[in-house]
Assembly symmetry: C2
Homo-oligomer: 257 residues x 2
């Protein structure tokens, strides 16, 4: 039998839906079975408390719950107050937020990604998910990007948020450090022209830059690029979704390295 | 000066947010500037009426409005009633819905896609968008898929819904016809194993099958596959988003053909 969550702790956890409190408490919420499973498998030391919606305790059967000391239940109504979803699955995990402060020495193997102002949480989460699949060394987020620990990004990443090394607030100075001190080659994606992706060679010191669909890549970043990449258009489409373009380029950059 | 839309027509167009009325009236709504631009460029004969939110008429400047005879304005409140978005851009187009009845003779060049019960509208729209970019000959949707003309799919496709040939209600019998009478080779994507994507050869009679993330590809379809495809996992990720996987495979299938 699980214990009910106290009103005080419920209130405390509800606040984690706001960035201010996530930053202050260094905690965030992971909702949904697959994402919780992934966190338990990949990042168990940072798992703080499992919360189940009462009557959904059968979800326990799918989990190695022994990995988390604290476990509790809440009513359906209270569970909804923890989630921004219309129909949450009924399981969520409170986890320690890793530090996302940039450190040059933590940049080891490439390819790595730099994302300029990707503010759509679905796109950001999906890119992080693909980055985990392709073994991307780090995801660097420019100022003005979505918070990677907000619930929608965490959900779209389906657990990958626990797998990939993420740095926030990476601007032009830090990029210049990576270029000069780590000797990375920078590739910018550009629909207007560039080398065709399929004939480009990549290696372990490759940095791939992507801008948002709304703003593109800012000029100051674009000017740092050594090469421009083009995904050849074969049909009559007008554009590609940025997460899809990033997935294609990660695929090619990891098989061509 | 644009004329205001009559109450009766507003009511009539509001109903197009429901599948029943879209099917009955053979019309659908396209919301947002980029998608409307794409429809005017690629499918002008099917554009029926442009509707602007009053005060947003500056959007007219971005459009070849002469291509559409009927144009009208509505209040902000009425515009919202036409859209399922929280903050719609203020421009929408009523368009004729093309027929999506399957005809074997309309299947010409591949690669073509078969999607089994993709019910997430964002994923379906994004796949259609990539299909337009890569010149995919047709997108076949199984019974139980999302309606491709619902507003969220149309929006995620960013205009590509007007570019790609789409067939609905394609089940096992129709797939068998394509295989036997058109001599297509069927490829199923499978995370559990298969030939690595990068070493697979494709051609103009390739059909690529994808299942939803929730249900995978149904066995009856999987049994039709000549080969299984695998996108090699390099990192510690658990899965790829289906629209991203489809984009990667479309990319590879169109450069390797």
């Amino acid at each position: 039998m699980l214990k009910p969550l106290s009103k005080n702790r419920l209130k405390f956890y509800q606040k984690l839906n706001q960035k201010k409190y996530r930053d202050q408490e260094k905690l965030y919420l992971i909702s949904g079975l697959r994402a919780v499973q992934s966190a338990l498998e990949n990042d168990k030391d940072n798992c703080i408390e499992l919360i189940f919606e009462e009557s959904k305790e059968e979800l326990l059967l799918n989990l190695e719950t022994s990995l988390v000391k604290q476990q509790s239940t809440v009513s359906s109504k209270d569970f909804k107050s923890l989630s921004d979803e219309k129909s949450p699955q009924g399981i969520c995990l409170v986890a320690k937020k890793p530090t996302t402060d940039f450190e040059l020495n933590k940049i080891k193997n490439g390819p790595i990604l730099f994302l300029d102002r990707i503010s759509d949480p679905g796109n950001l989460g999906t890119i992080i998910r693909s980055a985990a699949w392709f073994g991307i060394g780090a995801v660097l987020l420019s100022p003005g990007s979505a918070d990677p620990f907000q619930p929608k990004v965490v959900r779209a990443s389906v657990g990958a948020i626990n797998v990939v090394q993420i740095f926030e607030e990476v601007g032009i100075r830090k990029l210049e450090q990576i270029k000069s001190q780590k000797d990375f080659s920078f590739f910018a994606t550009d629909v207007s022209g560039g080398t065709e992706l399929s004939s480009t060679k990549f290696n372990k010191t490759t940095l791939l830059m992507f801008g948002s669909e709304a703003h593109g890549l800012a000029n100051e970043y674009k000017n740092l690029a050594d090469s421009k990449l083009l995904i050849k258009k074969i049909g009559n489409g007008e554009s590609l979704n940025v997460a899809n373009a990033a997935a294609i380029i990660m695929y090619q950059a990891t098989i061509n390295k």
